[in-house]
């Protein structure tokens, strides 16, 4: 699997995508203002969470157009429900991604009813920083990853999407999915183990 080898060979420079971090105190104050009807606070929440929700949607549906629609849907639902958000239940991030999770579930149900095709990331959506050769290579690699991830059980895919695409902690992921932290960790390990088996041959290390 030469293409994965290229990915493998650049492992030393590989990092997780950077995500914008907001302190807990700032987030809490902002959410409280948003619950009281402060539109600027709502705008801040949108700006913080939109990229993460979008990544989560991409990780789950693999199609940027559908990811855009789903992201918008998530925020409209957030808007309608934020007045009911209570701090004592779950962290705000978990609450946001619980909404996102529900949107995805609904999306899959709709897609299944329509018999719609599975989607893929189009070539022209590749980050423009790369040259064409790299982009093609990257595209195929990403496609392989996507195909491999699609073969994971739903619960495992859900966990690694929230963990690796969104950057939620184990605790936040557990709250978002209504699972125990130990369960989330186990699902994460199983998912990663299966992914690496599918993507990286034993002799390719």
């Amino acid at each position: 699997m030469p293409l994965m080898t290229s990915l493998h060979s650049e492992a030393s420079s590989m990092e997780f995508p950077a995500l914008q971090a907001v302190s807990t105190e700032v987030e809490r104050a902002t959410v409280d203002r948003a619950r009281a009807g402060d539109q600027q606070a709502l705008a801040d929440i949108y700006d913080w969470y939109m990229p993460r929700v979008y990544r989560y949607a991409v990780a789950r549906v693999g199609n940027t157009h559908e990811a855009e629609d789903l992201t918008e849907e998530v925020f409209l639902k957030l808007l309608s429900a934020i007045c009911d958000f209570k701090w004592r239940d779950v962290p705000f991030s978990s609450w946001v991604f619980r909404i996102a999770h529900n949107c995805i579930v609904t999306h899959y149900r709709r897609t299944a009813q329509r018999g719609g095709p599975t989607s893929e990331i189009p070539l022209d959506m590749i980050d423009g920083r790369h040259d064409i050769a790299y982009a093609i290579e990257e595209q195929i690699t990403m496609e392989e990853v996507r195909v491999a991830a699609a073969q994971l059980p739903e619960a495992q895919r859900e966990v690694i999407a929230l963990r690796f695409a969104v950057g939620l902690s184990i605790a936040e992921t557990a709250k978002a999915l209504g699972k125990r932290e130990g369960n989330v960790k186990a699902l994460q390990h199983k998912a990663v183990a299966k992914l690496q088996k599918m993507l990286i041959p034993v002799d390719g290390k």
């Binding site: 990915l7 493998h8 492992a11 030393s12 420079s13 590989m14 990092e15 997780f16 995508p17 950077a18 995500l19 009281a36 009807g37 402060d38 539109q39 600027q40 709502l42 705008a43 949108y46 939109m50 990229p51 979008y54 990544r55 989560y56 991409v58 990780a59 693999g62 940027t64 990811a67 855009e68 992201t71 918008e72 925020f75 409209l76 639902k77 808007l79 309608s80 007045c83 959506m125 980050d127 690699t141 990403m142 990853v145 991830a149 690694i160 963990r163 690796f164 695409a165 950057g167 902690s169 960790k185 994460q188 390990h189 990663v192 183990a193 992914l195 690496q196 993507l199 990286i200 290390k205």
Partner: protein
């Protein structure tokens, strides 16, 4: 958890938090590096598949839509009705809503606050909010409200409607919003047609999508009387609008038009049952508003008859009743009809309209066509001689009464629609300020269906005959000079 799993867990956490790269993780755990490497690469590869940026165009418009929706949804969630002077500014609308929300929340959870603290905080919050929301475009929200399909702002309008539905707290509120949206779809269809535009695919579907769930709820008996009445209005208007715009419906949208018509017609039928037969509804009183073109003739303008000896007011019965156009209103008095000094009904029907046999009824100067025993009606309490002020006709089952004023031709119809001894009063024909008004046949048919047919036939046949000429003096008074007034 094994030691390897522990190390893997730590490395994944460090990667997620952006503290370490894959290489750095491997350097930290050289004894597990070979085993960790493929796991960490797989996890990183997966993270990178999701590391996509939305298109700049979408990011801009989606954010704008979110901001607009946030202002609008909060405003509507709190049912704020701003002062007209503030109405032009969506920002101010939003601020008022936000302020009200704060007040409501403080009411819900009372806290001790300094006496002068609350208004000052409100003013301060208002001022701060004004400063914060400078970028918010009130114009876009306002103008999107009036956007029509094809307009760039129309998607914003649809989004805000979705938010309104989403923020509706109860089923009743949600239904109210659904009604608002259904009415809005109808207005859009009308507006498009008015502007001479072709109504393309999708436009009528949106109306169907909004109305169909309401009709289904009505059909399932889940609408209260108020909602049923509102759906009734929407459905009636829907049938009218769809008929009007039909010539402008695009070639590919005929199926949508047909569906929309079916939904509207079904809505009319279903809600009529709900509205009219609801035993809890208040009685309907319908007052006629349609002026009759030929007002009751004044006696002084009457054409004198040259048949002073006419003593048979009842016309000759015909063996085969004639048929007439049911909508036709008789405009001329049948020759030979003259006032009587008692209530007289022809023994046999003189006309048959849509299988309804009608007799001639004359009571003093009032003459009309009346249903008889063959259609289940009878005259109630009519004296053998003399003309009472009111004449009553009833159905055998006592569910329908027609009361006629023999002096001026006013007609009332009382009908028990719910079989619960409650009667609607329909003022079918009414004299007001010298002008005669009639009930709207379409309204009555809408409310009462076929039951309205006989009363309508009666109403349309009512005439007040000219007063009978006085019996001529045996002497040739015509030749004498008129007596000059004293």
């Amino acid at each position: 958890m094994t030691e390897f799993e522990q190390r893997l867990s730590e490395c994944l956490e460090a990667l997620v938090q952006g503290r370490l790269s894959v290489d750095e993780c491997l350097e930290m755990h050289p004894q597990h590096a070979d085993a960790l490497r493929p796991h960490l690469i797989a996890a990183t590869a997966f993270a990178r598949t999701a590391d996509q940026q939305p298109s700049a165009e979408w990011a801009t418009t989606a954010r704008q839509r979110f901001l607009i929706a946030s202002g609008k949804s909060l405003q509507e969630a709190m049912d704020i009705e701003p002062e007209p002077t503030f109405f032009a500014s969506a920002r101010v609308r939003f601020l008022l809503a936000a302020q009200k929300l704060r007040q409501e929340r403080s009411t819900a959870k009372p806290r001790r606050v300094p006496l002068f603290g609350t208004p000052m905080r409100a003013v301060g919050a208002l001022a701060a909010s004004v400063a914060l929301f400078v970028g918010f475009s009130g114009y876009t929200v306002q103008s999107a409200d009036a956007a029509l399909p094809g307009d760039w702002r129309y998607p914003i309008k649809l989004q805000t409607e979705r938010v309104r539905l989403a923020v509706a707290l109860s089923a009743d509120q949600k239904r109210d919003v659904q009604f608002d949206i259904a009415e809005e779809r109808l207005q859009e269809i009308e507006a498009l047609a008015y502007k001479g535009k072709i109504i393309g695919p999708g436009v009528l579907n949106r109306f169907v999508e909004q109305t169909q769930p309401l009709v289904e709820q009505a059909n399932d008996g889940n609408l209260d009387a108020g909602d049923a009445a509102r759906l009734q209005q929407v459905s009636i208007r829907g049938t009218q609008v769809l008929d009007q715009v039909e010539p402008q419906v695009a070639a590919g949208a005929e199926t949508e038009l047909a569906q929309a018509k079916v939904i509207s017609d079904t809505g009319v039928t279903v809600t009529r049952e709900l509205v009219v037969k609801n035993p809890d509804r208040p009685n309907i009183v319908i007052t006629p508003q349609i002026p009759v073109s030929t007002a009751t003739p004044e006696p002084t303008e009457a054409i004198p008859t040259d048949e002073p000896g006419a003593e048979t007011p009842t016309p000759e019965p015909t063996d085969v009743p004639a048929t007439e156009d049911p909508e036709a209103t008789p405009t001329e008095i049948t020759p030979g009809e003259v006032p009587t000094d008692s209530v007289v009904m022809s023994e046999l029907p003189i006309v048959e309209i849509d299988d309804i046999k009608l007799h001639t009824l004359t009571a003093g100067r009032l003459t009309l066509r009346a249903p008889g025993p063959s259609t289940g009606w009878y005259l109630d309490g009519v004296p053998e001689s003399g003309v009472p002020l009111l004449v009553t006709m009833k159905t055998q089952n006592q569910q329908s009464f027609i009361v006629l004023n023999t002096q001026n031709g006013d007609m009332y119809w009382y009908v028990s629609a719910a079989s619960n001894n409650r009667f609607d009063e329909i003022q079918m024909r009414l004299t007001r300020d010298g002008q005669v008004f009639q009930a709207d046949a379409a309204v009555l048919r809408y409310f009462y269906g076929d039951a309205a047919e006989i009363p309508l036939l009666v109403m349309n046949s009512i005439r007040i005959l000219p007063e009978a000429s006085p019996t001529p003096e045996p002497t040739a008074t015509l030749e004498s000079e008129p007596t000059p007034p004293l």
